[in-house]
């Protein structure tokens, strides 16, 4: 008997009892669907992080507000803007490894252009921001010195905002848009950097303070929410970081032993660490899903043992008519394999559907990975072989004479 005949007999037998066959493979279906989904969501999260790491730009340090004490009480990190534009200037001038630096304040607002409007992040910064992040303009120009110092009514759009506000034929450059009733001229549109990055509109820092965010009580004229700085070379990251910390402690007059009122971070490194954490969680989830696969395998073994008992007479007949022990073994092994493979295929389809649904509903990025699908199918086959072997072996060992005597 050939493998193909084995599969034909198996399919015939399984078709006769479709509900039972389906219930038998349910464990495998659930296990494989879980594995595929976990892989899809996990690698989607990885992709998103990688994109973020890329979008920050290479060798970027980020300085954010840290602990603040008021009357001996430690306030939440970032509850007060502790950095200033002069800090930016000092970092740029006094630390040789720093190539570019920019301070930013940010908030969200409605952006309006001729009836179209879009809610987005408004980032007030200087043209140094684009240098730090290696972010090129797709069209137009950056802020001029006079616009930066004189709160010019100009705006540079991220590509998402440009797409949402302007029809594809329209040139945004030179157009007037409004943010919080203030008319601004679009002077530039940025290159695409990734879906999470492109949904933004940049205005000069002075414009943001004076016209949009200045009323917020925790903003004084000189302060910025965060600073980004570009270090010339990869090897200088640690040194530059230490120098920034020293400089800012001096400038902020922080006595030795007291906590800094700022934090210097390496976002790319932090995200890489996060990536490792995602990998760990995904592996854990896959391990849990594998338990379901194991349970599925046991359920298949259970049903196969029952099936062998029920079909003892059939086995006797097949043996009497010339079936060898290995033919009987192959027949039942094929049945287990078909159950697992079919379960695996349904599971893959289910997993793909589930992860696409998750992607749509939760807005997560998921990535369907051929490797994960292949791996799940290999798992299914292995499950079929492992848990199908014992019942198949049992069937092949039956004495044909005894088997023919059973009712």
């Amino acid at each position: 008997m050939t493998m193909l005949q084995g599969f034909q007999i198996a399919l015939h037998a399984l078709r006769l009892n479709p509900l039972r066959s389906f219930l038998t493979m349910l464990g495998i279906v659930i296990g494989v669907a879980s594995i595929v989904t976990v892989f899809a969501i996990g690698s989607g999260a990885q992709l998103r992080l990688q994109e973020q790491i890329r979008s920050i730009g290479a060798n970027v340090l980020m300085i954010t507000p840290g602990a603040v004490y008021q009357g001996g009480v430690r306030l939440k990190d970032g509850s007060k803007l502790t950095m200033t534009e002069s800090d930016v200037q000092a970092i740029l001038e006094q630390i040789p490894e720093i190539q570019a630096a920019a301070g930013s304040i940010a908030g969200t607002a409605q952006v309006i252009h001729e009836g179209k409007n879009w809610n987005t992040t408004i980032n007030g910064t200087t043209s140094g921001h684009f240098l730090v992040r290696d972010w090129q303009l797709a069209a137009g120009r950056s802020f001029s010195a006079t616009e930066e110092s004189g709160a010019g009514k100009v705006v540079i759009l991220g590509s998402t905002v440009a797409r949402e506000l302007f029809a594809s034929g329209d040139d945004p450059i030179g157009a007037q848009i409004r943010i919080m009733k203030v008319p601004l001229e679009v002077v530039g549109v940025l290159d695409r950097k990734g879906p999470a990055q492109d949904d933004v509109a940049f205005v000069p820092l002075t414009t943001a303070k004076l016209r949009f965010l200045g009323s917020a009580s925790n903003i004084n004229r000189d302060s910025v929410a965060y600073i980004i700085a570009k270090v010339a070379a990869d090897g200088q990251m640690a040194g530059a970081r230490a120098e920034i910390e020293n400089l800012l402690r001096q400038r902020h007059r922080i006595p030795a032993g007291q906590e800094d009122d700022f934090k210097v971070q390496d976002p790319a490194a932090a995200m890489e660490a996060q990536q490792g954490a995602i990998r760990t969680v995904a592996l854990l989830l896959v391990a849990i899903a594998s338990v379901s696969l194991l349970v599925g395998g046991i359920s298949i073994m259970n049903v196969m043992i029952v099936s062998v008992t029920e079909r003892t007479r059939e086995i006797g007949i097949r043996r009497a008519l010339g079936g060898r022990m290995r033919d009987i073994r192959l027949q039942f092994l094929c049945e287990a394999l078909v159950l697992c493979l079919l379960g695996g295929a349904i599971g893959v389809a289910g997993g793909v559907t589930l992860s696409m649904t998750v992607a749509r509903m939760a807005g997560w990025i998921t990535s369907i990975d051929g490797q994960a699908i292949g791996l799940s199918l290999v798992f299914s086959i292995a499950t079929g072989l492992i848990f199908g072997f014992y019942p198949a072996h049992k069937a092949s060992k039956l004495s044909p004479i005894e088997a023919l005597k059973t009712e």
């Binding site: 010339g322 079936g323 060898r324």
Partner: protein, 240 residues
């Protein structure tokens, strides 16, 4: 007898051991079966007829003595080889038909050829021919439960014949049938034998046994007589 023996049993015994008790189902039986013979094996229930048949059919091996198939001691063959011989050289017919309930007649008939490595197309073509030979071709796509006992037994005979076996072994083939249908099945075996098919048939119906030229009688596992009649008795009408 001029034909060389197809089957030869030499001092064959078969003893079952269950829970320390030894039951001698067949004791020291010797006889030959020549190509083209039709042999009836008779004896009361429990006299060892089926045990003997299982050994001739390579399903079982003797505890003592030897069974030779075309001169080869079957105990020397591997389990796989004996299986292959069952597929190609032995045709079994059982009292309870033993058709696979979930396969139709033609698939049942073709089943032994699955174990001969024959393609599906040829299997079905030969199964058709075999069904034709027993007059069941018109029921090829019927399932066993849709057929009467006599029809099922005809399908089973078609299955036994499909690989052109050296010998057809029938264990009480009419035991589950009414006498009229039984007589038809018996006539079928007689017709097969006239075409040269070797047949061994277990029966405890003396009326059936008299249709065979040769009758072997067993009692308590021992061979009590082995008679060949030169003149067939005139066929008696079936008793109802």
């Amino acid at each position: 007898m001029t034909a060389s023996p197809l089957i030869s049993l030499q001092s064959v015994s078969r003893t079952y051991r269950t829970e320390g008790v030894a039951v001698a189902a067949v004791r020291n039986v010797s006889f030959d079966i020549a190509q083209g013979e039709i042999v009836a094996v008779m004896g009361p229930s429990g006299s060892g007829k089926s045990t003997l048949m299982n050994m001739i059919g390579l399903l079982d091996l003797p505890s003592e003595g030897a069974v030779y198939l075309q001169g080869a001691d079957v105990a020397d063959l591997s389990e796989d080889r004996r299986s292959a011989l069952r597929a190609r050289s032995i045709g079994f017919v059982f009292q309870s038909y033993n058709l696979l309930a979930r396969h139709d007649a033609i698939e049942n008939v073709a089943l032994p050829l699955v174990y001969c490595g024959i393609s599906r197309k040829e299997r079905l073509a030969r199964a058709e021919a075999s069904l034709q030979a027993v007059g069941m071709l018109h029921r090829a796509r019927h399932f066993p439960r849709q057929l009467s006992g006599g029809e099922q037994q005809r399908v089973a005979i078609a299955r036994a014949l499909i690989a052109s076996p050296l010998i057809v072994l029938a264990d009480e083939p009419t035991g589950a049938l009414d006498s009229r249908t039984g007589a038809e099945i018996l006539a079928l075996f007689a017709a097969l034998n006239r075409t040269g098919q070797t047949v061994v048939m277990i029966t405890h119906d003396p009326g059936i046994a008299t249709q065979c030229r040769r009758t072997i009688h067993l009692h308590d596992g021992e061979l009590v007589s082995d008679e060949t009649v030169t003149q067939l008795l005139p066929r008696r009408s079936a008793t109802s």
